[in-house]
């Protein structure tokens, strides 16, 4: 895949069709979404999407500008790697019969995963953490046989004391020559 992995937080109005608008924009401009997570925020009527895309710097800029043009998009924040807390939740059903069972349990403990369902032949684990940690866990579990897997996709918050609405949208003011970058709509 081309380009780098970027995590973008998009604060949107909780209106019908907004997910389609955002996802459709990525598709229309030819970008693959790596993951997309949506949920409510502490503000009534606002939702937050976390979108992960593989893309180069320049097309990423175009994508964020186009996203900004969506009427229901209030704010966009691109997370610089290391400057954000990124987490994901995963549910994984793995074969764990006989001798394998204690070994799976042991791995699960190391990764601080919880067993949330048990059958005679399987264990279902719930794990949270950085995406890399989940990848590592998954890699080990593959040896036993992964039956089913469900991941939430990444969510992220920028480090520091500011919320997304107080943050300037990068250094866009200088980048685009706006008197005042209001961060939304054209």
């Amino acid at each position: 895949m081309n380009g780098q992995l970027h995590t973008i937080s998009v604060l949107v109005e909780d209106k019908p069709g907004v997910l389609t608008r955002v996802a459709g924009l990525f598709a229309a401009r030819g970008f693959n979404i790596d993951s997309l997570a949506v949920g409510p925020t502490s503000d009534d009527g606002l939702s937050r999407m976390t979108v992960v895309v593989h893309v180069d710097r320049k097309p990423l800029e175009q994508i964020t500008k186009q996203l900004n043009k969506l009427i229901n998009v209030i704010k966009i924040l691109e997370h610089d790697p290391g400057e954000a807390v990124e987490r994901e939740l995963m549910l994984v059903k793995v074969r764990a019969a006989g001798e394998d069972r204690p070994r799976v349990m042991e791995i699960s403990t190391v990764f601080r995963a919880n067993v949330v369902d048990v059958t005679r032949s399987t264990l279902t684990l719930e794990a949270t953490g950085k995406p890399e940690k989940l990848e590592a866990l998954l890699e080990l579990l593959r040896d036993f046989g992964v039956i089913e897997l469900s991941r939430t996709g990444r969510i992220a918050l920028a480090r520091g004391d500011k919320g997304i609405r107080e943050r300037g949208a990068r250094s866009k003011v200088a980048a685009v020559g706006a008197e005042e970058w209001t961060g939304g709509g054209v």
Binding site: G17, T20, Q62, N68, I71, A178, G184, V186
Partner: protein, 582 residues
């Protein structure tokens, strides 16, 4: 006051000071057509929803106000799709109102149901499905605000039938709240200063003017900037009329079929001041070879256009009117400080010599065949340019843009970005409805004309007359030209015929006057006759030389340096790889 949703719709339209709506009724929109009878809003009953959509566009192009189209659910809305996509590409402010099947059956594959919001999401600036009649007025206010501000564009409002019938207490929302929509209109002064400085330092500047200047009503500001800064001006297809063609600093249209002076001035420039324009591929040719020595000042209201195709050295986000006025003031100040306009006489002389050496040209033999350019040029002369001219898409469009000498904004209406054949007749209808004081002339191709000619019926029954000059070369002319140039003259599916249909008879069948000219001698008399008729539409069938090609031409994908000025400049292309794709 208790009103129905449908009544609220018309009260809201009246509140937005809408005087004209173009549309066709149908099942789901039926409730809206009842209060229409009592409304001040004029409804122009079109013959096809696509026609209604383009008419709304023509209205917006000619007047600068929001055009409105109305249609029913399903096929009605679907027929608006082309017009919406066209309006999106060309930033034309229109609002489309569609009926939807009743809310309880939405999603049920009901009769005439289509998810029009889903369908039009990528081709509108925004769209709405109204689920409660209490929201109709507010939604309409938002729709008009979004359509007409920032970078203009189409907005669709879909209203289910039961919502139109729902009884509510009328309330006009004084304010609307769109937290995610705050277009930047004021240009940054520091950037403007840098831009002015860059202009002062430039030896070979060119103003590259796009449709945004017309949308922003910034022609006067542009004129002052160009005249006081002695800056030569190119006006793109979307910007024809933004700057008078007769002015000594006017270089005309750049691009694939632009003039040599405009195309080459941009190639040789050391500075392009791009104003409300988007470095479209029809203008730049091969992007990597476009204006290789030029620094770029890019002014646009849409930040996404800046740096999209070409990096800007000085980006300025803002409304063209505001930014150009500021740039003029700042440039004037810097010029005064420097003791005058920098000496660029050599550059201006070069440009002038190109204008003398490479005008648009064609050869009209006295005994025929009739050349399309001749017909268009005579039409221009006869109207003295005092008309709104509308074009479809193809050769006739390019020739009209080339040979019509524009002097005012909003006198040119055409389909640029989407290249929508069939645009001209309905757009002329819309322009004529918007400007009954003006003569409206559609120059159309025979291929285009047949796609939307039914709106001639609308013209007759609604008494909205205009002239349509069909440049009839019996072909899909531009495609034919490409097959001649790039496909070894293997003509495939481009022949339409001169006389099927008989355009004169067709015009008469629609209640219009039909005229025909086949020989250069007949042209002036036919035009004179057409211009003498003001009470009904006229269709002129100009039967022109089918072999005439549109030049200059920069083949698609080629560098603008490789401009072909005329047929003598053609070289054979036997290498299939060289045959460009459209």
């Amino acid at each position: 006051m208790k009103v129905t949703g449908a009544q609220a719709l018309f009260k809201a339209l009246e509140g937005e000071r809408v005087d004209t709506v173009f549309g066709i009724p149908g099942g789901a929109i039926l409730p809206a057509y009842d209060p229409l009878i009592d409304s001040k809003v004029r409804h122009v009953l079109c013959r096809h929803e696509q026609g209604a959509g383009h008419a709304a566009e023509g209205y917006a192009w000619a007047s600068g106000r929001v055009g409105v189209a109305m249609a029913t659910s399903g096929p009605g809305g679907c027929n608006l799709v082309t017009a919406l996509a066209d309006a999106k590409m060309d930033s034309v402010p229109i609002v489309a109102i569609t009926g939807q099947v009743p809310s309880p059956v939405v999603g049920n594959d009901a009769f005439q149901e289509a998810d029009i919001c889903g369908i039009t999401m990528p081709i509108t600036k925004h769209n709405y499905l109204v689920t409660d009649a209490n929201l109709i007025a507010e939604t309409l206010r938002e729709a008009f605000h979004i359509a007409s501000t920032g970078r203009p564009g189409p907005v669709l409002v879909d209203i289910p039938k039961d919502v139109l019938l729902q009884e509510i207490t009328w309330r006009w929302p004084e304010e609307i709240d769109l937290p995610g929509y705050k277009p930047t209109t004021k240009g940054n002064l520091r950037q403007v200063r840098s831009a002015a400085k860059m202009i002062m330092e430039s030896k070979r500047p060119v103003l590259y003017v796009g449709g945004g200047v017309i949308k922003a009503n910034a022609s006067k500001e542009l004129f002052r900037l160009a005249a006081d800064g002695r800056l030569p001006v190119t006006t793109t297809l979307m910007a024809r009329g933004a700057f008078p063609d007769a002015h000594e600093l006017a270089l005309g249209m750049p691009g694939m079929h632009g003039g040599y002076p405009a195309v080459t001035a941009m190639q040789k420039a050391d500075l392009l001041v791009a104003l409300g324009t988007r470095f479209d591929d029809r203008v730049t040719g091969q992007l990597a070879a476009f204006a290789p020595d030029a620094k770029i000042i890019h002014v646009d209201i849409d930040p996404a256009e800046i740096g999209k195709n070409r990096n800007a050295d000085v980006p300025i986000v803002g409304d063209a009117k505001d930014v150009i006025a500021k740039l003029h003031a700042e440039l004037t100040r810097q010029q005064e400080e420097a003791g005058g306009v920098p000496d660029r006489s050599e550059w201006l002389l070069t440009l002038e010599s190109w204008k003398q050496t490479y005008p648009y040209r064609y050869d009209q033999p006295a005994d025929g065949p009739l050349k399309p350019q001749f017909a268009i040029e005579r039409l221009y002369e006869a109207t003295k340019g005092d008309a709104i001219v509308v074009a479809g898409v193809g050769q006739h469009q390019m020739w009209t843009s080339q040979f019509w000498r524009f002097s005012e904004p909003r006198t040119w209406v055409n389909s640029g970005g989407l290249g929508t054949m069939g645009f001209a007749v309905p757009a002329a209808l819309g322009a004529a409805a918007a400007r009954p004081d003006k003569r409206v002339v559609a120059v159309d191709g025979d291929g285009c004309f047949q796609m939307t000619a039914q709106e001639l019926a609308t013209s007759r029954t609604e008494n909205i007359p205009f002239i349509t000059a069909i440049i009839n070369n019996a072909h899909l002319g531009m495609v034919r030209q490409w097959q001649e140039l790039f496909y070894e003259e293997r003509y495939s599916q481009v022949y339409l015929s001169y006389d099927v249909p008989d355009y004169v008879k067709l015009a008469e069948a629609y209640g219009a006057i039909g005229l025909r000219a086949e020989h250069p001698d007949e042209v002036d008399a036919v035009i004179e006759k057409a211009l003498s008729i003001t009470d009904r539409s006229v269709v002129i069938d100009f039967r022109v030389d089918q072999r005439e090609m549109c030049f200059p031409m920069v083949p698609a994908g080629a560098s603008n340096d490789d401009i072909i000025v005329g047929p003598e400049g053609l070289r054979p292309t036997n290498e299939p790889a060289e045959a460009p794709v459209a």
